[in-house]
Symmetry: C2
Subunit: 406 residues, 2 copies
């Protein structure tokens, strides 16, 4: 017997029929002798419709009202699933964020969970009742509904698993698990049986879409064992766990790519102290996240070229801000390029193996792929290349690091 | 300056555009210097869609889950209206039933309001904030959402007006107010400026659809002045008030008709003590409401014919129950007739005027209309006639009692 939290997303709960299929699956887990809590999203499309209405009503809206509106969809799916379970003879009840309560801070529409009182749910699970919990929502200190932002239901599931001291949190998705690379471009990609929190975190922030960064962080901080698995079949998915749980660690676990970045190059920037602050200070003030930064060597000792990447959605704002700072920075020209991609090689094994970066550079060079920028962390190397080489680069690296399936 | 509760129904809040029009109207009332609370229904169609899903999921569903599901629609409209008011520079916030709280009993899906804590709303109205309150919902003793049943938003509005000691509760509808008769069949019908609670109550239970019986009862018990008015124009509607507020009381205030009843006749019932109990006991046990009852004189002293009316929706059940009791009752034949209508004449002035009933019978007789059954109360006379005479009867009575517009 185990205590499990199961999370199902919007496409799995899109209508009454699919909710019945979810109920069948939950029933199976209950009949296997487990204590079960289920976390649900709203029906696919519902939340987007609600967001559309808020935008149509008011461009600068009150986040508290926004939260009251967009949190209503989960109320429907949890009630319907509780009904479906009862119909199958399984004791179940729905729980809204404020009923548990799931306490959050007051940053409405991207609130953080501060505390979950799981005592009553644990007590009821002990007598065989399934808790069906609304994802994405909690109760703010001012007694109003607060939503958790993008990926909020995953966050609810992981936080609930921590609060209930669950043995595992199963995130049901439309993919089988976490792959060594995107299977749509690497046919030889393999599903990973296990991956460490640190790797999953890098993968999520480097472009893998299967789990949101915030839910992985939460799982890592509370040591919640997370399983990413398919809602369409019964095969085991990928376990996201502590490093110690993985006996034989590959040097590299996966290759990711992120195409939502853009490159900005400032030509002939005065090569003097304080110029980086003049460039990046105003961007930080405007909440623009700068990812990679490269400053070329100064051939004449007076000017240099500076390249950095930002989220593509921020590009227009960045251009405006940089132009406003033209005098302070003293550059000649500002070039932008949205036609780039960031390819990353990720693996905790890198810590103990030298030469991982060198192999990456050599492999790309072999294929004639030029590297515009490089950034590294302890368990990740990222390079910026032209978008047209995306597939070639990912496939080559996947093969070079021995990740291809037999 | 007055303290007002305004209630808008589903068609008035059907989309973002119509919610903007509601916001304009609320803004006008605020700018006139009033303290305002608004009660809203869900968007037209939303609640029906939600009910459909619950029915598709489970025929015998948990009323607590049903309530969680069907109460979600109001959450959307109140959030959007609060946004729309803020957009117009008016301070506003949305309130869900559990946030106020509006405490109910635990008869989920037809709960009764037990208590509303209006202190915080009154305080905020005092500093110019509009309270936008979800109709139809409250918080049950087990900390779950409870809905109030049909007409629930009107009930919320009246109960809130009582709790806030509001000067008036304005119910915005798709009609101008309460008419002396249904204007669709009586072109000479007049809008009433004022009507007493007692008359409104009789009208609501005798077929007038403008206000639900439960909300009128509540208004009467708490002496809440209710105005029924149009959401499409600014003309004053009909005030529902205490009898003392109406200086010159007409003998008859209105003529109603109800076509949702059916007549049941048991032929040759044994004329002995206990037979009425044998007929109506099992019907009461099955929660069937019996309205009018007529027992014909027994010509031979041994058998009699018994006629009664029930809601047409209950007719099939009634036939089954009566057949099951055939032996106990000892009747010869059970005839049913759904082609009947109950026409009522209503007015508090009847108390002090004799001959009102006599005039009704004479007027119907003049037109050759046969009366199948009669029932009376202190301020009402109802007759059962064939449905084909509906318009003729209502028009004749409207004229006979001097209600026709000049």
């Amino acid at each position: 017997m185990a205590r499990l939290v199961l999370k199902f997303g919007g496409t799995s709960v899109a209508d009454v029929e699919r909710l019945r299929i979810v109920a069948d699956r939950v029933a199976q887990v209950v009949e296997d002798g487990n204590e079960v809590a289920v976390v649900l999203s709203a029906m696919a499309g519902t939340t987007n419709q609600l967001i559309e209405w808020t935008q149509a009503m008011s461009s600068l809206h009150d986040a508290r009202e926004y939260d009251a509106i967009v949190s209503s969809g989960e109320q429907v799916t949890i009630g319907l699933l509780a009904m479906a379970l009862q119909e199958k003879g399984i004791s179940a009840r729905s729980w809204l964020g404020w009923q548990i309560p799931i306490r959050t801070d007051d940053t409405h529409s991207s609130a953080r969970i501060e505390d979950i009182d799981g005592a009553e749910i644990v007590r009821r699970m002990g007598i065989g009742e399934v808790a069906v919990v609304a994802g994405f929502q909690g109760l703010s200190p001012n007694n109003r509904i607060a939503t958790l932002g993008r990926g909020g239901s995953d966050i609810t599931a992981v936080a609930l698993a921590a609060a209930l001291a669950a043995d595992r949190c199963d995130i049901y998705t439309d993919v089988d698990g976490v792959y060594t690379a995107d299977p749509r471009i690497v046919t030889a990609a393999r599903k990973l049986d296990k991956i460490t929190y640190e790797e999953m975190l890098e993968m999520a922030s480097q472009g893998a879409k299967v789990l949101q960064t915030r839910s992985v962080e939460l799982a890592m901080n509370h040591r919640v064992r997370v399983q990413v698995r398919s809602s369409f079949n019964n095969s085991p998915g990928t376990l996201v766990v502590d490093e110690e749980e993985i006996v034989e660690q590959a040097v590299v676990s996966g290759i990711t790519y992120a195409s939502d970045e853009a490159k900005v190059t400032l030509l002939h920037v005065a090569d003097r102290p304080g110029v980086a602050a003049a460039v990046f200070g105003p961007l930080a003030d405007a909440n623009v996240n700068v990812d990679m930064i490269v400053q070329s060597a100064s051939p004449d000792g007076t000017t240099t070229d500076m390249t950095f990447t930002v989220s593509r959605g921020d590009l227009a704002r960045v251009q405006t801000i940089v132009e406003q700072q033209r005098e302070a920075i003293g550059f000649q020209e500002c070039l932008t390029d949205g036609d780039i991609v960031k390819v990353s090689v990720i693996g905790v094994g890198m810590r103990s193996h030298a030469g991982v970066a060198q192999r990456m550079f050599a492999a790309l060079s072999d294929k004639g792929i030029n590297i515009h920028a490089i950034s590294t962390s302890e368990i990740k190397i990222s390079v910026l290349i032209s978008a047209e080489y995306t597939e070639l680069a990912v496939r080559s690296l996947h093969s070079v690091y021995g990740l291809d399936a037999d």
